[in-house]
Symmetry: C2
Subunit: 111 residues, 2 copies
């Protein structure tokens, strides 16, 4: 209770080469996303949501698109996404792991 | 704007061998904590706070104490801390990096 071990967790496949596992409380969610389908030739189509998001690059390199601004991020870097800001990423390496934190929680991820 | 690069960030020293950098929005905070003073012979004294917390182990190994339960965590593992639950960690390796997400934000970290 209160602990999620990577070695025991059930991952959810988001799309081919992309999977996640997550933990949440009432107002806070953390999602571990593994990408294994890079590199990509361009950023994914931007999307947005009313939730606040802060993401941390664990491994790999990405371009992050925040509004109209693109920034190259490496492990240890962070980006913040205010509510409703269009954003996306572009994988620059074959694999990457991101940690996405959200508040409120992404209810649709629990279905 | 919206991006924190590890190579450019100003770290805050929490105590000897422990430093952090962070990002936040209105209701969400992410803190990167680097520990370089391990291993420890026992868990730190437990503490608690009204904020929800979810933490991810980037590197190193720890024991996490949640209430009365101790669990050994490795990179990729997550623990959740509901409001006001006494918790602490024990470093099992010389170094470790944790990502702590909080909601609401830890206002005292901004002073």
């Amino acid at each position: 209770m209160g602990v999620i071990k990577q070695s025991e967790v059930t991952r959810t496949t988001i799309s081919q080469g992309t999977s996640r596992y997550l933990a949440h409380l009432s107002n806070l969610m953390m999602v571990v996303i593994d990408f294994e389908n890079g590199p990509a030739s361009q950023p994914d189509p931007p999307h947005s949501h009313p939730h606040e998001q802060i993401s941390y690059v664990v491994s790999g390199e990405i371009n992050v698109l925040l509004g109209n601004e693109i920034t190259h991020l490496r492990p240890g870097d962070i980006f913040t996404v205010p509510p409703n800001l269009p954003h996306s990423i572009q994988l620059l390496t074959p694999k990457a792991r991101l940690i996405d934190a959200f508040s409120p929680i992404r209810q649709e991820f629990l279905k």
